[in-house]
Amino acid sequence: MAETKTFRAGVFSVVKHCYLPRAVAAHPRFELVVVTDDADQPDWVHERNQKFADEFGIPYVRDVAKAIAEYDLDMAAVSPEAERHCDLAVRAADAGLHVIADKPMSTRLSECDRLVEAGQRNDVKFLLWNRNYLPAVVQTKEAIDSGAIGELQAIHVDFYFSKNAGPPKGSHAEGDPPINWLDRQMEAHADGSDGGVGKEAMGELEIEGIYPLGYIHMLTGQNVQRVFARTATHFHQANVDNDVDDLATVSLELGGGVVGSLCIGRIGAASHPDIGEIKIHVIGSEGGLVITEARPEVSIYYRDQPPLEFKNERIANENDFLLMDDFARALDTGSEPILNAKAGRDIAATVFAAVESGKTGQPVEVDC
C-alpha cells in the first residue's frame, strides 16, 4: 500500500460551533496538532479555544506566529468570528499553509480579495466550507451532468432554516435596550445557532447565503452577474435591532444566459418540523428537477419528544468527510477544491450585491 502523508493542521481560532475543525480531526488524512489565536483576543475567545484544545489533548498557543513556527503545520483550519476569517487565513497563507475556512468568507469583499491574492501569491490551496457534498446535492449534479434535463436554463434554491434566533420580533418592551449582536451570538452557542458569531451584525443572506449560492455555483458552473433583492426583518428581534435581514429573496442573472433565484430565511423553529425547507429546482431544455436537499432522512417520533428536536433526521450525510477528502485530493494532486477562494469571493460579491439591492430597491451588478 502506498504511503500517504498525514497533514498537520492548526486550528486558527474556534469560537463558533466547531464542525469545521472536528471534520478535519475526523478524517484519517489529517491530524490536529495545535489550537492558536492572537493573544489580544477577549477572554471568551480564549476560553472556547482552550476548551477545544483540551478536548483534543493538544496545546493552545496564544500566538499565531509562534504556533506556525513551532508546530510544522501543513494547513490551517480557520474558524474565528466572521470578520477575522480572512485575516487569519491570509496570515496562514503567507506562512505557506493551505487553508480551510468557515463561512461566511468575510464581512467585506476587500478582505475576500486580499485572501484570493494571498492564496495565488503563495500557491496554497483554499477551501471555503460548504454543503456541496450533501447526498441530494450530489444527486442533483449527477442528474444535470448526465444530460437528463438537457441544457440548464433556470435554477432556484429555497433555503429556509427553521432555527430560532433569540426573542421574536416585536417582543421588546418599550425602553428595552437593543440586543447586542455579539451577546446574542454567544448565547446562541449553546444550541449551535451562532452561525453569525462576530462583532459585526450579519443578516441571513451574509451568514447562510454561501450554502445555496454554493449549490448554484457548482451546478451551473457560472457566476452571478446581476441581482435584484428584497430583504426584510420578519422574525427575530436581534435582526431588527441590528438592522440586518432574516428573510430575503434574490433574483439572479448568471453567465451563459442562466436565470434563477434564491429565497432564504431564518424562519423560526415553529415553521418546519426539520432543520428547514431546503429545495433545489432546476429547469433544463429537456425537463426539470425537484430536489429536497435534506434527503435521505429518517422520521423519528416518540412520546415526550422535545419540541425543538428535529423529527426528521438527515442520514448518510458524508458532506464533512467528503469535503476533507476533496481537500486532501487537492493537496495531493494540485486540483482545485470544490469551493476555492475565487469562487468563495465571487459568491461573497453576490451576497454583498444582494444586500445593496435590498437597500436600494434596484438591480445591482455583481463585482465578479
Binding site: 436554463q153 426584510a232 429573496t249 433565484s261 429547469i283 425537484v290 436600494t360 430597491g361
Partner: protein, 304 residues
C-alpha cells in the same frame, strides 16, 4: 333553488355534471354548447339550446344564473349578454375584457378556480386564522408542459399574480421580472408588497409532455405553509426507475367556486372573487411583462 345554465364545451359539461350531486341550493337547468354539436347530457335533464345566443334569446326563462366556461374573448362577450338580461354570471377565462363589466348591477364573479384548490384554501385559511402570522414570503414554482392550458403568457401567469395579490391582500408595490433567452415559455417574477412582503414566482411552460408541477410556500412571521406537489407524490413501479404519481385534488376547485357563486346569489352578497380582483391581477401581469421587456423595476421605492 337557483336554476343554472352552463355555456361550455361538452368536456367541461362533463366536469360540471360530475359536481351536480354536491351542489347545494342550485341545479342545472339549461345548457348551450360553445362548439357545434356539443351536448349537455352530462348535466342531466336540462334544456339544451343550440347556441349561447339561442339560450339568451329563447330560453331565458329556464335559468336564473349563468356559468360561462369559454376563452377570454367569448367569455367577455357572453358575460355582457347575460348581464344585460339581469342574470348573475360566473365567467371563466377572466381577463381585462371582463373587468369592464364589473360596474354592472348584476352579480359578476370571475372564475379564479386556482383560489379554490383544496391546498390553496388550506393555506389561505391558515393565514386568515392568524396561524402563520404576518405574510412574509410567497414562493411559487409552476411548471407546465408546452401549450397545456392557455394561449398567451399573460394568461399563464395571471393565476399566480392573482394568488400573490390575494394572499398578501393587495397589489405589489414593486415588480421585477426575468425571462430566459433560451426558453420563451419561461418567466420569473419578483414582487414586493407592503410591510416587507415579497413573492418570488417562476413559471415554465416547457416541461416534457406528461405532467405538471406546482409548489407554493407561504412563510409568515410565526409559521409557514407548504403546498407542494413534491410532498404529494406516490410511487409506481412498473420496471426501470419508479415513476412519481401525484395524488389528485379532484375537481374540488370547480365545485368550491361554483358553490361560492351560488351562495353569493342566495345570500345576496358580493362573491369572494370580484372583477376588481381580476383587474388587479391583470394590471400586475402587465407590469410583470413590462418589467421583463424593459428590464426595469416597475413601481418600487427607495429601498425596502
Amino acid at each position: 333553488m337557483i336554476r343554472l345554465a352552463l355555456i361550455s364545451s361538452a368536456e367541461t359539461a362533463q366536469a360540471y355534471g360530475a359536481l351536480s350531486t354536491r351542489l347545494r341550493r342550485a341545479a342545472w337547468t339549461a345548457f348551450a354548447p360553445l362548439d357545434s354539436g356539443g351536448s349537455g347530457q352530462a348535466l342531466g335533464q336540462v334544456t339544451e339550446a343550440t347556441s349561447a345566443e339561442e339560450l339568451f334569446t329563447n330560453q331565458a326563462d329556464v335559468f336564473d344564473a349563468v356559468v360561462i366556461a369559454a376563452d377570454q374573448a367569448s367569455a367577455g362577450r357572453l358575460a355582457k349578454a347575460a348581464s344585460s338580461l339581469g342574470k348573475p354570471v360566473l365567467a371563466g377565462a377572466a381577463g381585462s375584457n371582463l373587468t369592464a363589466l364589473g360596474q354592472a348591477d348584476t352579480l359578476l364573479m370571475p372564475a379564479h378556480p386556482w383560489r379554490f384548490l383544496p391546498s390553496i384554501q388550506s393555506v389561505k385559511r391558515s393565514l386568515d386564522a392568524g396561524k402563520l402570522g404576518q405574510a412574509g414570503l410567497l414562493r411559487i414554482h409552476r411548471w407546465l408542459p408546452p401549450g397545456a392550458d392557455v394561449e398567451s403568457q399573460a394568461e399563464r401567469i395571471l393565476p399566480d399574480a392573482d394568488l400573490a395579490c390575494w394572499l398578501f391582500g393587495s397589489a405589489p408595490e414593486s415588480v421585477w421580472s426575468l425571462q430566459s433567452a433560451a426558453n420563451p415559455g419561461y418567466i420569473q417574477f419578483h414582487l414586493g408588497f407592503a410591510n416587507d412582503g415579497m413573492a418570488m414566482i417562476d413559471i415554465a411552460a416547457s416541461l416534457p409532455s406528461g405532467g405538471d408541477y406546482f409548489s407554493l410556500t407561504m412563510i409568515g412571521g410565526t409559521g409557514a405553509a407548504y403546498a407542494d406537489d413534491h410532498h404529494n407524490m406516490n410511487l409506481l413501479y412498473s420496471g426501470g426507475q419508479p415513476n412519481a404519481i401525484r395524488t389528485s385534488q379532484g375537481r374540488a376547485d370547480l365545485g368550491g367556486q361554483l358553490q361560492e357563486f351560488v351562495d353569493a346569489i342566495s345570500e345576496q352578497r358580493e362573491p369572494s372573487v370580484t372583477p376588481t380582483d381580476t383587474a388587479t391581477a391583470v394590471a400586475v401581469v402587465e407590469h410583470i411583462l413590462e418589467s421583463a421587456d424593459n428590464r426595469q423595476v416597475i413601481g418600487g421605492k427607495e429601498g425596502n
